[in-house]
Assembly symmetry: C2
Homo-oligomer: 220 residues x 2
Amino acid sequence: MRENYRDQLQHITDDLSEMSRLVEAAMSKATKSLLDASLELADQVISEDDVIDELGNKIENQTMSILALQQPVASDLRLLAGALKISGTLERMGDLASHVAKQAKLRHPNLSVPRDFLETFSKMGDIANEVIRRSTRAIAAGDTEQAVDIARAEGEMDALHRDLFGKVLSDEWSHGVEAAIDITLLGRYYERFADHGVALARRVAYILTGEMPSKSDLEA
Amino acid sequence: MRENYRDQLQHITDDLSEMSRLVEAAMSKATKSLLDASLELADQVISEDDVIDELGNKIENQTMSILALQQPVASDLRLLAGALKISGTLERMGDLASHVAKQAKLRHPNLSVPRDFLETFSKMGDIANEVIRRSTRAIAAGDTEQAVDIARAEGEMDALHRDLFGKVLSDEWSHGVEAAIDITLLGRYYERFADHGVALARRVAYILTGEMPSKSDLEA
C-alpha cells in the first residue's frame, strides 16, 4: 500500500512534467508559426491545446483522489496542493501559446509583425523556451536552482517587452495602428508566459522546501 | 473537535467572500479612476492590491493546515482544493484591477481613453462589477445559479471587447497609436477579468455539486 502511494505521487510528478513538455512544444511551435507565418504550425498549436487541458484535468482528478484516500502531510501534501496550482499555471501557459498561434493565423499569409520586429520576437521566443524548459526540469528533477535562472530570463523578457513599447510609441513608427495592436498583444502574451514561469518555479521551491521564495530572493 | 473543524471550513468560505469583496471594491475604484482620471483612486487600488494578496496567502496557509490536520473528503475536500484555486483566481482579478488603475495613473492628469470611448469602458466597468458581485454571492451563499448570469455577463463583455477592436481598427480612427495601445490593453484587462469570473463560478459549482459545468452548460 505504501509503495502504491509513492507510485501515485510519482505519477503526479510525471504527469506535471509531461504537461510542461507539451507546453514547451506548443510555445516553440507557436513562435515558429509567428516568425514563419506558418498556418500549419499555428493550427497544430491551437488544436493541441485541448490535449494540455485534458492532462491538466487528469492531474487534478488524480490529485483529489489521492487527497481523499490517503492522508498526505508535509512535503507530500505540498506536492498535491502544488499540483493543483502548477497544472492551472501550465494550462494558462498553454493558452498563451495558443493566443500567439491565433495571432499568426489571423494575419496569414502575411506576417503578424513587421519584418524589423522579427528579431525581437525571435528573442522573446527563445526566452519563453528557456523559461518553460527550465520549468520542466524544475518539476521533473525537483530542482529549486532553476528558479533563479527563470527569474533572470523573466527580467530579460520584461526588458524586451519595454523595448517593444518604446519602438511602437516612437515618432519613427510607420506600420499603422493594426500592427501596433498586434505587437502590443503578442508582447503581452510572451511577458505573461515568463511571469507564469516564475510563479511555477516559486511553487516548485515551496513544494520542496516549505518556503515560498519571494521575487527578490530569486535575484542573483 | 467536529464543530471546530466546521468552523475552520466556514472561516475559509468567509475569507474567500471577503477577498472577493476586496476585489469588487478594487475593480469598482479602478474603473472610476479610469473614467474620472483620478490619481487618488488609482493609487488606492494599486496600494491595496497587497491586502488582497495577503488574504490570498492567509487562505492558502489555512487551507493547507486543515488538509494536513483533518481528513477532509467529498465536498469538504472540494472546498479546500477549490479555495486554493479560487484564491489564485481572485488574486489575478485583483491584479487586473491594479493594471487598470496603473493605466489611469500613467496618463494622469489626462484621460487614458479618448472621450468617445468613455461610455464603452463605463459599460465594461459595470459588467466587471456585476461579474465580481455575483462571484461574491456565489462564494458566500454557495449559490451555483450565479454561474449562468456570470457567463451571460462575460458574453456581453466579449461583445464590447470585439466592438473596441472594430473601432480602433476602423478608417475613422483618429486618436493615434498610443491611445490604440491603451485601449487594447484596457480592453484585454476587462475581458480577462470577466473570464476569470466564469472560471470562479464554475469552480464554486464544482465544490457544491462535484460536477464542473462546461461553458456550454452555462448558456441559458
